[in-house]
Symmetry: D2
Subunit: 429 residues, 4 copies
C-alpha cells in the first residue's frame, strides 16, 4: 500500500466497537428482508465463486449495500470499499464492514474532496480485479490515474443512471478499456426499483414529513416514465386525485388511458395540493407555475437532480422564506401564500431528514443482479470484451427466480411441446 | 382561583419565549392544512358566537388541537385547557396557546398523576360553561368533585370512543347531568377518520419505521370495520396482497366480495409479511399464531389498546428479545425466526418513535364538528337535555359543506320539484 | 278453485314440453351459480320446514327467481306463482315451474291488465298462508279484495324498494294486517346488490350495447349512494376518469375523499363521454345539460324510474331522432351533435335489448334471505305482529355464513374471553 | 378487369339498398367514436395525400375497418377490398363501402375457399400501388401469383401478429420484395389494444354471456403479457381475486409485485371460478387441470388460437356435453361437475355469439396508424427498401397527438433549454 494511503474507517472513529455493533444491527435488519442476498449467501459460501478475486467498490456505504459487500466477501473475494458520496456513508456500517476479515472499508462520512479521492486511491491500491461502482468514480479514476492496472481487471459493474451515462460516453470515445455491466438498465431494476421503490418511499417520506394524507388531494405527477407511473399509481391507491403532466404525447396518452387527468403544468399547478417531479429534466416547475399555486402547496422532487424545481426563481419571487417544519422550507409570496418545498428540491426519498432511501426489497433485487454479474465476470471472463454490456437475460431472470423461490411463489414452466410450438411460430409456417 | 391551583405551563418552562415561537410554528403548519378551521375562524372572529362563555378543555395538547383551542378563543370564549394524557403534550404548543390573552394552558408533558389532576382542577377553577373532552376526564371530575358547577354548565363535547363509552355508561346510570355531544360517533368522523386517517398514517409510519415496502407483500388485516377497510384498501393500493381476518360473517363476506383473501388468523399468520390488527378486541394474535409465522414478519396494531397482540405470550415463547431498530422489537424464537413488533403493540400511528398521529386533514374535520357543536350549545341551549346527544345532522353536513367550499369543490342541490318528488315517494303513493 | 280461474301457463303454450326443457336449462344454469340456494335445497329437502304451508307469489318469473320458487316447494310448501310485471315473464321458465308437482305457475308473458289481475286472483285462490311479493301487488290485492283470507296468512316477504315503500305506507295508515319482512332493506341485499350487482351489470350492458370501452373515458356518475358507489368504483376499475355529481354535501365529500372529481352536473355534462344516473330522483339530466354535451355522448340510467333523464326535453331539443344501434336512440341537435340514449332511459341493466338483469350471484343472496324469512314465519309465527319487520340480523348473517361456506371461505369466531371483553367494554368500566 | 373476375358484393345481395343503409348506420356509429379517423378525414379530404394511388386491401369488413377504407378513399385513393376471413364480413357494411364511388368491395360473408381467393384476385386486378393486410394473404398472393405487379407497388401495411410473423419469415428467406410496415408491433397498438381493448371486451363479453359477476370470484389469468395484464387489472378493478399463472420468472415476479397471487396452473385450476388464457401458446389448460376444477367453472380464451384449452382432452374426460347457454358448452364429468367452455375455446371477445370484437376506440388508434403509414409510403417512397419496417416513431406519436387533441387533452412540450439539457446528458458530461 502506498505511503499516502488513506486509513480505513476504524482509524477515524472514537468507539469502534460500539460503531461495529450498531452497524451490524443495521445490516441484520436489512438482511432479514433481503431474501435474494440470503439465498446467494448460501450459494456463495458453499461454492466460493469469487475465490482469489479482489473487488474494489465505490458505493453508498449503508446497511443495504453492506450486505452486498459482505456477500462478495463470503463468496471468496477480498473486498475494499469506499463511499461514492461523502454524505451517504454511515460510519457505523462502515466500521462493521471493516471488521470483516476479508473487507477493508475506507468510507467515512463527511470527508472533504481530498479525503474522498484519497479513499478511492486506497481502494485502488488493493489492485482490484473487479470494480463495482455507483456513479463510475472508481472506473473513471482507474482509467485516468492507474491505467497500468487495467490489464489485470476482468470487468466491472455500474449501479446508476449517471454512471451508465458516463461509461457509455467513455465507450463512445473509445476510452473504456474493460467490460462493464450496466446493471442500472436491466429489467430487474427498471421494472421494480422505480415503480415500487421510488413510488412508495417518496410518498411515505412526504406523508411522514408533513403529517398530511393523500385522500382527496390533487397530486400532480410531472413525468409518466417508470418513476412517474409508480408515484401516480401509489398516490391514486391512497385515494389521491392524480394529475399527470408529460411532454411526450404517447406517454400523455398512456396516462389519459389509465384514467388520470392529463394537463399542462401551467394548468395543473393551480390545482395542485402536491407536485412531485419525476422527469430527470430541468425547470419542470418554474416561475409562471409558482405564481398560480394555492396556499400550502407541497413541492417535491423524486426525479434526479435538484433542478426540476426552479428554486432560484422561487427565492426571488418570495418575500420571506423559513423552515416551516423539519425538511420543509416555506416560501411566502407577497400575497401571503406559502409554497412548501421538501428536502430543498433534492430527491425527497433520499435527502429528507427522515429519509431512509430506497426500500430494502428493491435494493435486494438490484444487488442480487450485481452479485451474479460479478460471478459472471469470473466464470465467463472471456465472453466479454471491453465496453458496456447489458446484463445477460438469464442472469436477470435468475434473480427473479431466486426471489420467487425465497417467497415461496412457484410458477409454471414450458413443456417441450410448448417450446416447440413457440419455436415454430417464431420461425413462420 | 383556589390556593392550590396548579400554575399554567409558562411557569414550568425555562425559555418560554423560544417555546412559544416553536409552538406557534407547529400550529401554523397545521392550520395551513385545516381549511375547515380556517373558514370557521373567519366566521367566529366576525360573529363572536361564544362571547361570554368559558370553555374548559382536557385534550391532547399538540399543534392540531391547538388550532381548535384558538378558534374557540377567537370566537369570543375564554378557554382553559390541560392535557388528557401526560405523554401527549407538546410543551411548546402549550406555551404558544398560553400566550393568547383568552387562553390559559396548564398542560405540561410528563406530569405525574397528582399534577395531572391538579391541572384538571385548575381548568375547572375557571368555572367553565362548556366542557370539551377527549376521554371524558373533565366531565367525570366535574360530576364527582364539583357538582355545584353543573348548574352553570350548558353542555359538553366528547371526542373519542372511550369517552363516549364512559358518558353513555354515566347516562345509563342516571349520572350524567348535562348534555354532551358524542362527536366521536358522527359520520364526519367515522367515514373519514378511520378509513383515510388511520389507514394512511399507519402504513406510512410502518414504512418509515422499517424501510420496507408493500408491493408484493402479504399484508394481513385483522378486522374489517372502518379501520380495517381503510388499511386494506390503502395497502392494496400500494400493491400488497391483502388477507383479511374477521369474526363477523357479513363483514367477512364484504371483504371476500371486495376481492380480498379471507382466512382465519390460524391460516393467515403463516403467510403474513405484515399483520395489522384493527379489531378493538383482545388476543387477536396469540401464541398459536406466533409459532406459525415467517422469519422477519412485522406485527403492528392500529386498533385500540395494546392487547390485540398477546405480547406476554410472545415474550415467553422467545429465547431472545432486542431492539432491532428504532420502534421495532425483535423476538427471536428457538429456531432463529425473528418476529418484529412495532411500537410495542400500541397504536402504531401514535406510539411509534416517528409517529405524528392522525393526519392534519382528518383532525380538521373532527375539530370542525367540535367547534360547531360548541356554538350549537350556546345558540340552542334549551334544545338539549342532560344526556348524550348525537351531533345534529345539519351541523355534521355543515362541516362537509365548509370543506368542499374551501377546496373549491361545488356540487348540485335539489330543486323544489326534486324535493317534492322525494317527499311523495317517501310517503307512499 | 273458482269458476273464473285463470288457467296455468301450460294452457297458454303450444309446445309445453319444449318450453319446459328450455326453462329447465335456464334454471340449471342459474342454480349452478347460486351456492346459497343450493345449500338451502339440501337443508329444506331434508327438514321440510314448510310442510303444510301454501305460498302465494307474485315475482318476476325468470330463471333466478324460479330457483327460489322450487326451493320453497322442495321445502314442503305448495306454491302458486304469477308474474309481477307482464313483460318480465319467461314462458319457458314458467312452464318448467308449472311442471313441478307442488308448483302452479300462472305467469304468461305479455298478458293484458285483466289477465294480470286474473292471474293474481288465481294464485290467491290457493289460499296462501304466506305471500312473497316483488312490488306488493299480492299483498295489496289480498287486503283490498280478499280480506277474509288474512286470518290464515302468517306473513309475507317483500323484495323491492317500491314494494317496501307501499307496505310502509299501509302500515302508517294502519292498513297492514299481517307481518311482512322488508327483505329489500336488509344488509345482505343493500351491501352487495347495488354496489356489485348494479355496478357490474350496468357497465357490462353498456359496453356490449355500444362496442365501446371505458379506458380514458370521462364517466359521470350522478348520485353517490350504494349504486353510484358501485358504478363509480367499477368504472374507475376499468380506467375511466370518474366524475361524481351529488346533492348531499357529505356524500359529495365522500366521493371527493375517494379521489373522484366532484362537479355539479352543469359542469360535468360538458365533459362527459358517458353519464349514468343512479339517484332515484327525477330530472337529474335536463335541457341545460343536454345543450352542453359533446357529440357522441352516451346517456344511461341505473337508478330507478325512467325520469332521471328528461327525455321529453331532449325530444323537443332534437331536430332528428333515430335508432343508432340496437338499444341506442340518437337525438341529433341542430348543430349536428348526437346524444345517445340507452334503453330509452329505463334501467339500462334490465331494459336494454341484451340486458340479463342482475347477476345470478346477487340474486342468490337476496333469494337466500327470502327463503329463510319464509322459514322464520313458519317456525316463529308468534314472534311477529302485523306490520313491517326488518329481517332479523341472525337470519341475514346466516345467509352470509352459508355463502362463505359454499365458497370454501372460513373465518374466525370470537372466543369466550373476547366476547366478555367486548361486553365489558360496551357496558363501560 | 379479367374475365374470371369475382363480382363486387352488390351482385351477391338481394336488397342492396337496404344493406347499404344498414351498413352506413353501423359505420356512422363507429365513426362517431373514432376521433382519430375523424381528424384524419378532415386532413385527407383537404390535402388528398393519396391522389392517384390504388390501395388493395384484405381485412375484416365490418364497421370499424370500413371507416379506414373510406378514409383512404377520401384521401384520394381508389380502393378495392375483400375480407380476410370468410366469417367476419358484414355484408351490409360491405355494400355500404361498395356504394362509394372510389371503393369496390368484394367481401361477402361465408364464401367458400375458392370464392375467398377469387375475391382476393379481383382486388389484385385493380393493380394496387399499396396493399393493406390483416393476416398477409394479399401480400402473399401477390408475391406468389402476381410477381409482375410488385414493381409498381410502393409498399404495404400489415395489421396483425400472425401477418407480421409471416412477412418476417418471408424477409428472412429473402422473399419479401417490397416494404411493409409492421403496424401490429407499434407502441400505439401494443400499449392500448391488448391492455385496454382485449381486457375490457373479454370481460364484458363473458359477463353478458353468463349473467355472472366478478366480485369475489377467483379469476385465473394464464399469462402476464400485455393481454394478461389488461385482463388481470380490469378483473381486479371489478373486485375479482386475481390469480396469475406464468412461465417466465420475471413476468411472474411482476405479477407478484403488483399484488396478485401467482400460482402454477396445477394449483390455480382447483381454485378458479373463471380461467382466462392469454398466452398465445398451446395446452395451457389440460387434463390434469380439468380434473381439479370446481363445479360450474368458466373457461375462456383471450389469447390467440383455440388450442390454449385442450378441448379434445376435455371431451374425452366428459360423460356428457351440451349447450348450457348461448355461447357456453357444458362438459359434465363423471362425478357431476360441470366445466363450462365459452365460445368453444376461440377468442371469447371475437367468437362468442354476442361478441362485438375490439372496442371502437382501440381500432381507431390502430387504423389511424394504418392511415398515416399509407400516407408515408406515398410521401417518402424512396425512404423504404423492401423488407419489414417498424412504424416510424414520429408517425406513431402523431396518432397519439391527434387523439389527445380530439379529446381536448393538452400537454406540455420541451423548451429549448430542456432539449439541450437532455442532449448534454445523453452525450455524457
Amino acid at each position: 500500500m502506498s505511503e499516502t494511503a488513506y486509513p480505513p474507517v476504524s482509524k477515524h472513529l472514537d468507539d469502534v466497537e460500539a460503531a461495529q455493533t450498531e452497524g451490524r444491527r443495521k445490516m441484520d435488519w436489512a438482511l432479514q428482508h433481503m431474501p435474494i442476498l440470503q439465498a446467494l449467501r448460501s450459494e456463495f459460501e458453499a461454492e466460493q465463486p469469487l475465490a482469489g478475486e479482489r473487488v474494489g467498490m465505490a458505493m453508498h456505504v449503508e446497511a443495504k449495500t453492506a450486505n452486498l459487500v459482505e456477500l462478495l466477501a463470503l463468496g471468496g473475494a477480498e473486498v475494499a470499499i469506499t463511499g461514492c458520496n461523502p454524505l451517504s456513508t454511515h460510519d457505523d456500517v462502515s466500521a462493521a464492514l471493516d471488521a470483516h476479515e476479508n473487507i477493508t472499508s475506507y468510507a467515512v462520512r463527511g470527508v472533504d474532496d481530498e479525503g474522498y479521492y484519497d479513499a478511492i486511491d486506497s481502494v485502488i491500491d488493493h489492485n482490484p480485479t473487479i470494480t463495482v461502482d455507483d456513479g463510475c468514480d472508481m472506473i473513471f479514476r482507474i482509467h485516468e490515474e492507474y491505467p497500468e492496472l487495467i490489464e489485470t481487471i476482468i470487468g466491472g459493474c455500474e449501479e446508476t443512471t449517471t454512471g451508465v451515462h458516463r461509461i457509455r460516453a467513455m465507450e463512445r470515445d473509445g476510452a473504456l478499456k474493460y467490460p462493464v455491466f450496466a446493471v442500472n438498465d436491466t429489467p430487474m431494476k427498471t421494472l421494480f426499483d422505480n415503480v415500487h421503490g421510488t413510488g412508495e418511499s417518496s410518498l411515505a417520506t412526504i406523508a411522514m414529513t408533513t403529517n398530511l394524507s393523500y385522500a382527496g388531494k390533487n397530486v400532480v405527477v410531472a413525468g409518466f416514465g417508470y418513476c412517474g407511473k409508480g408515484v401516480a399509481k401509489k398516490a391514486a391507491g391512497q385515494n389521491a386525485n392524480v394529475i399527470v403532466t408529460e411532454v411526450d404525447p404517447r406517454k400523455a396518452l398512456e396516462a389519459h388511458m389509465e384514467g388520470y387527468n392529463v394537463l399542462p403544468m401551467s394548468e395543473a399547478a393551480g390545482k395542485a395540493d402536491l407536485i412531485i417531479t419525476t422527469t430527470g429534466n430541468r425547470d419542470v416547475v418554474v416561475e409562471e407555475h409558482f405564481t398560480e399555486m394555492k396556499d400550502g402547496v407541497l413541492l417535491a422532487n423524486a426525479g434526479h437532480f435538484d433542478i426540476e424545481l426552479d428554486l432560484e426563481a422561487l427565492s426571488e419571487l418570495a418575500v420571506d422564506a423559513y423552515e416551516a417544519r423539519d425538511g420543509v422550507d416555506a416560501y411566502e409570496l407577497e400575497d401571503g401564500r406559502r409554497l412548501n418545498v421538501l428536502a430543498k428540491g433534492r430527491l425527497v426519498n433520499l435527502a429528507s431528514p427522515i429519509a431512509l432511501g430506497h426500500p430494502v426489497e428493491v435494493m435486494d433485487q438490484s444487488f442480487g443482479v450485481q452479485a451474479v454479474c460479478v460471478r459472471e465476470l469470473v466464470e465467463n471472463t472471456a465472453a466479454y470484451d471491453a465496453g458496456v454490456h447489458d446484463v445477460p437475460d438469464d442472469l436477470d431472470k435468475e434473480i427473479a427466480s431466486i426471489k420467487l423461490d425465497a417467497e415461496g411463489v412457484s410458477h409454471d414452466s414450458l413443456s417441450d411441446e410448448q417450446i416447440d410450438y413457440l419455436g415454430s411460430w417464431d420461425h413462420g409456417t
